[in-house]
Symmetry: C2
Subunit: 429 residues, 2 copies
Amino acid sequence: MREDGPAALDWVADYLERVRELPVLARVAPGEARTSLPAQPPECGVPFAEVLQDLEEKLLPGVTHWQSPRFFAYFANTGSEPAILAEMLAAGLDQVGILWRTSPALQELEDVTTTWLAELLGLPPGWHGQLEQGASQATLAALAAARESRPGFVLASEQAHSSVDRACKLLGLELRKIPVDGEFRLRPDALDLDGASAVVATVGTTSTTSVDPVAEIAEACSRAGVWLHVDAAYAGCAVVCPELRWAFDGIEGADSLVVNPHKWLLVTQGCSAFWTRRPEALRAAFSVVPEYLRTTDEVVSHSEYGVELGRGFRALKLWTVLRCYGREGLQEVIRRGIRLAELFEAWVRDEPGWELCAPRPFSVVCFRLEGSDEENQALLARVNASGKVFLSGTTLDGRFVLRLAVGNARTEEEDVRLAWDVLREEARC
Amino acid sequence: MREDGPAALDWVADYLERVRELPVLARVAPGEARTSLPAQPPECGVPFAEVLQDLEEKLLPGVTHWQSPRFFAYFANTGSEPAILAEMLAAGLDQVGILWRTSPALQELEDVTTTWLAELLGLPPGWHGQLEQGASQATLAALAAARESRPGFVLASEQAHSSVDRACKLLGLELRKIPVDGEFRLRPDALDLDGASAVVATVGTTSTTSVDPVAEIAEACSRAGVWLHVDAAYAGCAVVCPELRWAFDGIEGADSLVVNPHKWLLVTQGCSAFWTRRPEALRAAFSVVPEYLRTTDEVVSHSEYGVELGRGFRALKLWTVLRCYGREGLQEVIRRGIRLAELFEAWVRDEPGWELCAPRPFSVVCFRLEGSDEENQALLARVNASGKVFLSGTTLDGRFVLRLAVGNARTEEEDVRLAWDVLREEARC
């Protein structure tokens, strides 16, 4: 630690300083990273310095730089410095949260951080919160609990995330897709809850970040006794800003909710906050306590509320970020992201030959070049191949559309400007 | 990073130097860690130094020290120094493996490390390997694939891990428990495969580390067209030693296999190696590719073979450990663990008033004081309350039994000796 640690630390610090200049999307061909390494495992150990050297020379070319301020694809994120250091601290402690007693600090810091985050997001007090690896796991847990409470089919809008499809497939539940309105929001008038087990409402859909009308859906679910799970993996982060609280209108009627601090709240990968006001239903769906895990502890372990048995100390990175940024620091990150997306949106709106394709409630702009799908796809491929910026695409109303997602906290106006310049330049080719 | 990093690094190095002397099992009461922290989230950010200070003063008392060489409960593990630094490097890069293109290095390093590990364990070449967060997720994926190939019930021994129960509950599959022989191994003569979807065989059961007869089970499964999943989460690590290859006899007949490098191969929490020779069945069970994730890449993403959509760069820590220890270094850790367990086993065998309760194929000793269950439970509680060592218990043939699990690579003979001294001393009280 004392010998090799400083070099590792320097490598990370250097990386963060130079990442803006690196080609954002990895330029390797399939198999290139793999074949740069020996086919056979090492017989003897080597000094850590060799690992660092191979990371730099052999692996880095195969890295797509999520940490780049010029990463605008999917939902851009940020591994902040406090979170990076917290990951090292957590690794040093190497906690395994199986039962409360195997790490009281881990379990109770999950309680503290999810309570803090609930307060920052204006959630009703008293919900049970815990941290999962990702929203896929949280949504799976929520739908398993819903099925346990009341079997039936699942409803979600046709813009809901693929993790809903996957969870339903796994749980053997039929998923019925509900049409959306002109702004890609679930149409509550199309909800037929007779025979339903659960509805998944999305606050911030993946393609356009549209917000389903949670209040209206919650009321219908409550009347029908149907579980309401709210997937706010991305946009829930934005609700730390009071001016964006509207996105959680009616949230008190939800049975469960997922928000990913690893998306837009500066936490490194693997930290999804999951709340429920019906923890007993989760426990009924998951609890299995074998002989070798029986204790006299009077605390229910978080592992009884999900798929995972031994959980990592994710709470440490979330706690560190909440401490080091505070409510104000997080609000600033969200507001800057939104402001940059607004700028970009205005540039597209004002430019002949380009069109906006969806409303922009947060920091994602959906747009396209007036022309064919093929032209837009080719444009996206050229832009990404330039290495200067990285964007992704989606399909809306049957048309291929480009997406620019601001989410990296290190993104400046010059980076968004570069994206626009590269797009216009490549569009002229 | 440059300012606060060195302090964080020092904290971890200091922690590892003093962890042997800390009370192994946390001594806090439920709620103590939680109430030591403010109920409200911070409004403004604070310097990272305050986080370190609170970690030391408020959280550390609530930590159960998995890193202690005197941790002998469950399956003891080790977060090695190379793995800890690799976690920081991975956090610095903050990769999100959704599709191959979102991190070719991540996906291909999963290929490389699972291929290397397969070679170290003597697995047949060509299996598809990837890294999951834990064995629970891997077993869930395996059984989902089995169900996809052929619906039916699942069979496992009554000594199988609770994650099998949980996966079956989630997948809506009936689980039939098969009786074990006098050495806690699944009895193949009791296997009735008619109507079965899958069998889970365990190499190293949680209570006693018994090894199910994989070769015999595989042959029966192959004849009947039933999926065989092998759960070798703990003991599979030991198979890096050629003298322990017997535990994988017949493994070539398995359809899937899970081994946890985070258990006994020096990797920090959250690294489970999962192989299958039938990846197409996994893909059929899990693949959902929405519009916003379609690409022209000709590589199947690892996310199509499991529950998780965005995976972390787990491969970096496994790769770092394999590089820094090599085959020899890993073998040495396994052999030392087994030798220490052998020593302890001999001490128990030779001591009047104590008895061994199961064979010891690896590094876990099951034993008890001759007397009632209550006496043994009280003894365990006193030993753990001493803070000097931490052991766990289980139930075998209806009797409460103590378990001493050697698995921390920093454990020395003096630590095992201390455990034995404390046990005998507390037994006299």
